[in-house]
Structures are given as structure tokens and as C-alpha cells.
Subunit: 329 residues, 2 copies
């Protein structure tokens, strides 16, 4: 099934069930006030939501027309956002870009950081631009939303905790990353609020495209209205199952935890990229010169994913960069 | 005033107002269901909570007897937990312990990491011990709970967003830190759930001990029933005001954000320490040999703070290490 969250006057928004074709939706206040509540009560709640979903798709229930502009991220805020980096080519290229070595255990231990989750951007929200030297970039990713995961869960047992799949724009400030990582405590200032796709899908909704803890479909990015990339999201070195094992090694993960894949990236250069940092590094490698600047006010990024019939699955992340009232320097 | 959260059958617990002497409390369901809700509605809610607090202290209202065992951390879960490291001596000693250099900008830019906040331990909860080579340690800290802080807030304007002050045991797995930090993405597996003091105090409740964005009182630690340290928490190199400016540089901070001071530590060795890593490093420096092991099942840590009349301010963090059902190796 397909769920979404309408913006409302409460921080967690209002849970809705969305039709398979993204055109119609139904409010479900009697089942759950918001998605966090549904996740904390999934065993009872999911079958009822699924019933509504089936009724919508069979035209058996009164619906309203979907306007994606009115949707917030499926979880407008979360208790936990952990972002992995499971595409090896992305790690190698962005480290090269900042003159850092890939970690020695690149292929045996997933990279993962604890991200800020206190307030996410909506899928159509503007991205604030503070200063040019912050090096504003987008990062197209896939992510999973989890039920409660007990500490010590292994990859082979992780599938059953994956409740929903979403897309992410993990907004990154490349200019602040080297200084911040040099201090040794990970990202904070360099990773402001991320935005997520309007719709969240259960794994079964993806059919055979969901396999081995990976989404085997291209992630489509359009930058300033032009094709930017369509790498296969299934090319993850570590599956979501392995990312969950890594995250749960020393603690439980609460229901509603989001785990991201990291920037989707393939070895095949004809597939393009899902962030500017990679494109810039490839320019430098091929011509010695970086020609693509980071994002500036007015630039737009569109991120979506289609099934093999061309049906838009998660709705469209579409964000425009706007000058922030907060400035520096 | 003094607030607390009773454990209950809901994840956010039940908000209570606690008497100045920690002995009596009153439930306040008509004012706010939980502390997060009170923080999101502070302007309206705080004067009413204060009225209840005054009535308790004047014996004008029906109360129940406080049993600290029944208290959860003031926020049993939070949307954001950012932990600074504002005591320079702690940074220098723990980096020396793991053979790492202090950052070049040690005294000009605060160290801060994004911590896990999806489920905290209660102040009397056991701390799980998974494996001896994880190097289980406690870290005694002070922290502030904030109202919504707008992006770009400067230190000079930060005081007005500080709503409550609490103590922290920031549980740390020293054995996992070097490997994790070497990967460059900060702490995750090495920082499992933290625990907070039973009671949260408004800054004015500390009187003159709250000054310049610092708590000028000793933090008392007892390890296995013996004195372990009483360093002055006021000896922060960066004040909470400066930590807030750092955290809000590129984003808003949602109401309910917790910012920690980092392990309280003074240059004066007679004041002891607030974590085992420091004591171990001092042993190594003075005798060449580390004699204090990390925590093992059965060990206990008590953390509290008293005012100059000897009144316990925040209640008592008291945690025992227990063998986890999850094991490794």
C-alpha cells in the first residue's frame, strides 16, 4: 500500500492512504492520527490501512484529489534518522573530491551517521541557501522506515522490520564537510534538514523490484529541468538488511527509525549521478577542471522513481533553492 | 521550577511537577500530557506549571510521595540530542588515551555530535553490557533542553531559548570509538542510549549558580559506592550559549532539543573525573600502567549535583551494569 502525510496545523501532519496511481487519497483519523502512531501500532493498524487502500483502488470509497504540494514528508519529524553510504562508487568519488582516503574497511563495514531528524523539509519545500562557500548539494537516496528493531538483530532477520520505503533528498553542505569531519565527530552543521518523497510504499507494493533488501529500479534525478542521472538503486554494496544489522549492534531501534541508503551511484558513468559532488569529481578526473557549480538560488532538483510501466511510485521530490534570510560572512 | 516524567504505559511518560525538596509531586494532565508537549507550548504552559510548583512548595495542593525509581528521563525520547564537548581537559585526555591528536581548532570551534535520541534509559535503568572489549564507560554531563531555536541564533541571544537543565550519563563504548571515528562519520554504535536525571530544573531554580550559560556547581560522581569526582561544571570552555550558536548555524532546532556539555572535567586533578577513560589516562601518565578496568556487570555509577546547602537538585542518576542477553564473539 501507499501512505502519505498531509501538512496540517500539527507538527506530525495527518496520515492519508493514497491510491496506486497517486491520484486519490483518503484521510484515516479513526485508524491513526499520524504515521508515527501507525508504525507504533503496525500489527493492528496495517491490515486496516490496507483495506482502505484496496477500497480506493477499486473506487469503493469516497476520496479527495491528491495535490502533492499539500504533502509533507511521510514522517515530518522522526525520533531517528540514520544515513548509510552503501554505494561504494559514491564514497570513492566524494572522498577523492575532498582529498580524503576511503576507509580501510570500505567493503566490510557500512558507513553510517546519525542525522538530524527534529524537523524535515516537505517534498516541495524550498532549500535554504545561506552562503556560497557552504557548497549546497542534493543527494538522491532510497530509505526504509522501520518497526521497533531489537538490539543484536542480524541481517538475515531484518526484512520483517522494514515497514515502508521512501526516497530522500539528503541536503548536504559540501563546503562545511571537510572542516567538520576533520574534528572527528561526524556531520552536523554540514547536514541540515533532509526532505522525503510525498509517498511511502510497503515493500510488497514494489513487487519483484524489492529483492534482497534492495530496490532494483533506477533513481531519476533532474537538475534545473535536465536529466542528471538514472543509476540503478539496486546496486547497493550493503543491503538495507546489512545496514539494519549495523545500526542495531549496540541498541534497539525505535519504531519510526529511518535508515537511508546513501547517495545512489553506479560504476557505469552513462547512468549519471545523484549529487553534484560526484559530477564535479568526474569533470575534474576527465578534464582537470570542475565546471558544474554547487546549487545557488533558483536552482531546482527533481527526484523520483518509476516502475517498469512508467508509473511514478513515490510521488515527486521537487525543491528549489532560495536565499535564506540568515546569511554569513 | 522542577519537572519530571513518570514512567507510564505510553512512551512519553506522564509529566509531573516536583517539590523543591524532591519529596512530593503532582500530576498535571490538564496542563500537558508530557514534557515534549509542554515545551511546544511553553509560553502558555510554563506559568501554569509554575503556579502548581508554588502550591506544592507551600503545601497548598494534594501531592503524592516521590519515588525516584518510578521516574523516567524527563524526555524519555527526544527529536534531537546533540552532545558537545566543552571541557578542554576531557578532550585532551581522551584523545591522548586513544592516540589521537586534539583538533587544531580545539579552543575556537566546539566539538559536537548528533546523538541517538529514539529511546533513552531511565535514571535508574540498568546499563547493558554486551562484550568486555566494548569498553563500557559512563560520562557525567550537564545538559539543557531548548525551546524552538531559529537558524542563525547567536550566543548573545541564546539564553532565552534555554527552558530546562538536566544531568546526563552519556553511556560510551570506548572499545568501539577508535574504529568508528576512523571511518569519519562520527559516533553511532559507540554511543548507545544515554540516561538523564530524574528532575529537570528551570534556570532560575539554580539562582546564582546559573551564570553566563554555565552551571557553577560541582558534578558529583560515585563509582561502586566510592567518591569518583566532583569537578566544577562551571569550568566549560564553551558556554551553552556558544553550543547553541554552533548547533543552530545551518538549521532551526526544534523545541525539545537537548544539548549536552560533554564530560565535566577540571584541570585540578584533586577534583577527580566524570568518566573512566580520564582516570585510566591519568593512571597511565602518572605510573605508566592502567589499573582501572572499564565497567563490568555489577558495577554502579551514581551522578548527582547539590546546591550550596547540600540539597540534591536533579535527583539521582544511579545505574548498575547488567549482562545483556545480546552477546558478541
Amino acid at each position: 500500500m501507499k501512505l502519505g502525510t498531509l501538512k496540517s496545523n500539527v507538527k506530525d501532519g495527518e496520515l492519508v492512504v493514497v491510491s496506486r496511481d497517486n491520484k486519490k487519497a483518503v484521510r484515516v483519523p479513526s485508524l491513526a492520527q499520524n504515521l508515527q502512531q501507525a508504525l507504533e501500532n503496525w500489527t493492528d493498524c496495517a491490515p486496516r490501512l490496507k483495506e482502505v487502500y484496496d477500497q480506493i483502488n477499486r473506487n469503493e470509497i469516497e476520496t479527495f484529489d491528491v495535490n502533492e504540494e499539500s504533502f509533507h514528508s511521510p514522517l515530518p519529524r522522526a525520533y531517528q534518522w540514520l544515513d548509510g553510504s552503501a554505494y561504494i562508487r559514491h564514497i570513492v568519488l566524494v572522498r577523492k573530491a575532498r582529498g580524503a582516503e576511503p576507509p580501510a574497511n570500505l567493503k566490510t563495514t557500512p558507513l553510517m551517521y546519525q542525522g538530524g531528524s527534529d524537523q524535515f523539509l516537505a517534498p516541495r519545500d524550498p532549500v535554504p541557501h545561506i552562503a556560497e562557500n557552504h557548497g549546497l548539494d542534493f543527494e538522491g537516496e532510497v530509505a526504509v522506515i522501520l518497526d521497533h528493531v531489537p538490539m543484536g538483530t542480524k541481517a538475515k532477520d531484518a526484512e520483517k522490520y522494514i515497514r515502508l520505503i521512501i526516497l530522500v533528498n539528503d541536503v548536504s553542505l559540501r563546503g562545511l564537510i571537510p572542516g567538520e569531519l576533520a574534528m572527528g565527530f561526524g556531520f552536523m552543521q554540514s547536514k541540515p534538514s533532509s526532505a522525503f518523497s510525498p509517498f511511502a510504499l510497503t515493500p510488497e507494493e514494489l513487487g519483484s523490484a524489492w529483492k534482497d533488501g534492495r530496490v532494483h529500479l533506477p533513481l531519476l534525478s533532474e537538475y534545473n529541468g535536465e536529466w542528471f542521472g538514472h543509476p540503478d538503486a539496486g546496486d547497493m554494496h550493503f543491503s538495507f538488511h546489512e545496514l539494519i544489522e549495523h545500526a542495531a549492534r549496540t541498541r534497539d531501534l525505535a519504531a519510526g527509525t529511518i535508515i537511508g541508503s546513501g547517495t545512489v551511484s553506479n560504476e557505469d558513468e552513462s547512468k549519471g549521478s545523484s549529487c553534484l559532488a560526484e559530477k564535479r569529481m568526474l569533470e575534474k578526473i576527465s578534464s582537470g577542471e570542475i565546471t558544474t557549480p554547487f546549487m545557488k538560488p533558483g536552482d531546482t532538483i527533481k527526484i523520483e522513481m518509476k516502475d517498469d510501466q512508467g508509473q511514478n511510485l513515490f510521488g515527486t521530490l521537487f525543491q528549489k533553492v532560495v536565499q535564506s534570510e540568515v546569511t554569513e560572512g
